[in-house]
């Protein structure tokens, strides 16, 4: 069965600095990888996904993620963080089935 690990509960960055939120996965077969963001008391909003093709995926709000098959990773990145990026971020993986597995989440705090 597929699984996802987000090794950091919390990431703190200064506004204007680059940010990275880490995600590693385990799946048999080809992975379908997703990033979601959750603001306080809201549902999850889709940011981006990797299905196939280019390993660098660009998504909403200036975020991007790089699929690395050899390291089984799909880290979320942004070149210049904003205070408004502060939120809870979830990585998710799906195999060929409809069963999607989510990580425990990483809380990103961007300080002015």
């Amino acid at each position: 069965a597929q699984s996802v690990a987000q090794p950091e509960d919390q990431v703190n960055v200064a506004e204007g600095n680059p940010l990275t939120v880490k995600c590693t996965y385990s799946v048999s077969g080809n992975p379908y990888l997703f990033w979601y963001v959750q603001y306080p008391n809201r549902g999850l909003q889709f940011l981006l996904k990797y299905i196939t093709g280019d390993n660098l995926v660009k998504g909403s709000y200036g975020f991007e993620a790089e699929f690395n098959k050899s390291q089984t990773s799909f880290h979320l990145k942004k070149p210049s963080a904003l205070v408004s990026d502060s939120a809870l971020y979830f990585c998710a993986v799906r195999d060929h089935s409809n069963d999607m597995r989510f990580g425990a989440g990483t809380r990103l705090t961007v300080k002015p």
Binding site: D9, G43, K49, F90, F102, A104
Partner: protein, 113 residues
């Protein structure tokens, strides 16, 4: 835009009450899901449905049941609410195919006293 709506944003219920959480999606998606979200545990799948009148257990179905009488509506039922069911409940829907994005509703924060 995909829209997934949930009937309540906040609910307060008493132990032993029967609780209904409703979810409606407007994108004609075949697949619908109910998750609960707890701090440090991420999202855990309670039940999902691939079609009308069809349901499958997820990872934590105990104490819950579901109903899908129409394609757009998926209901989660707590037969007899307990305090350990205090949580954030999230509904999601998606089309067929593993590459399809899951779209989430705004969530229902349930407090069981």
């Amino acid at each position: 835009d995909v829209k997934v709506t949930q009937s309540s944003r906040y609910l307060v219920k008493r132990t032993g009450e029967k609780v209904f959480l409703e979810c409606v999606q407007d994108m004609d998606h075949e697949n619908m899901f109910w998750y609960r979200q707890d701090p440090g545990l991420g999202l855990r799948l309670i039940y999902f449905s691939y079609d009308v009148k069809m349901k499958e257990k997820g990872d934590i179905p105990e104490g819950y049941s579901v109903s899908r009488e129409k394609k757009e509506r998926f209901s989660l039922i707590l037969e007899s609410a307990s305090t350990n069911q205090t949580s954030m409940y999230l509904c999601a829907s998606t089309g067929t195919g593993p590459g399809e994005t899951q779209y989430f509703g705004p969530g229902t924060r349930l407090l069981v006293l």
